[in-house]
Amino acid sequence: MCSTCGCGSHDVLIGGKRPVRGSGSITFRKAKAAPEHEHPQEDTTTSRVIQVERDLLARNDSFADANRRLLTGRGIFALNLVSSPGSGKTTLLVKTIAALQGKLPLAVIEGDQQTENDAARIRAAGAPAIQINTGRGCHLDAQMTGQAIAQLDLADDGLLLIENVGNLVCPAAFDLGEAHKVVILSVTEGEDKPLKYPDMFRAADLMLLNKCDLLPYLEFDAELAISYAHRINPDLKVIRISAVSGEGMGAWLNWIEAGSREAVAAK
């Protein structure tokens, strides 16, 4: 490790081992006499050092703050739904829309890399929806979410459901301005997903353990999965649910309606 600033250590493990870097017989830096590596201050006279000290997420966070102000000001309860691809998010949304019909006005933002398929499913279920195709992007960001919000017909005091790109890694870091992240884990996945993808389970406030109707046919240990999730995030609320059988839908809808009432009261 560099004795000047402490930099130079890396946590990459290959085959469980830290790769050798900057020591031994192979080096990728020009050899210099005294320091272990170059610092900006050591550069020559034609150049100058500029202190920047700016956070990489600051721009996203400022768009997220603007979204949050707009949403909370209008009493709109916004949820950012995140999961692996294939966890049953869209089916769950379709059932949620049907159950809330006439009770709570809602709209949906659909995030996928390609296709309008999911937005079409949501519209067929009776809710206004806008699709964001992120192209090569692996997550929604707050700026594109804000643009989608501007194009959506959102009712005051309503519900906004944002279905993020199916990806348990990248969406964790990007605040969209939502009230809560909701992570969906299906019982056809591994119990240890919370341990493998901790960032997302830490960022979420609610976990929906989906496809619970399939539990009798699987070796999935629901208690174990929930205990892993609580190891990452002790305060994570968990609802066991099946969009197909309807199990747990009541608890999920109650949670949404309670959040919506709070959002309306706080505006």
Binding site: D11, R48, L56, G137, V169
Partner: protein
């Protein structure tokens, strides 16, 4: 790979700094990446090179300073060294650890000409 969009954020910060501070070329970019942030330094290096191509930071050297992760146990108050975003308090085994440092990622300085 969200490191791609984070590398694009780096470029945006560089371009804004270039306007404010009046420089045309960037020789070195120093990033500070917390050990508990969601950035994999090797992925960032890969994305950095491709995002900077054809820009005022084309060919710039990327230096990454990794800052250590620390937290506070909300149960017993101990200060804890953290290697991941979660863990158990070494004093009382509680999982209620609050991150106090090491979750930021920022452009620290630039060497420009």
């Amino acid at each position: 790979m969200h490191e791609m969009s984070l590398a694009e954020s780096v470029l945006q910060i560089i371009e804004e700094s270039a306007q404010a501070q009046n420089f045309q070329r960037v020789r070195t970019v120093v990033l500070e990446i917390g050990r508990l942030s969601s950035v994999e330094p090797e992925a960032m290096r890969f994305c950095f090179d491709s995002v900077m191509r054809g820009t005022l930071a084309d060919g710039a050297e990327l230096q990454i300073i990794e800052t250590p992760g620390t937290g506070r146990c909300l149960t017993c108050g101990a200060e804890v060294e953290m290697h991941e975003q979660y863990g158990l308090c070494p004093s009382c085994d509680s999982p209620r650890l609050q991150i106090t440092a090491g979750n930021l990622m920022r452009v620290k300085d630039l060497v420009v000409e």
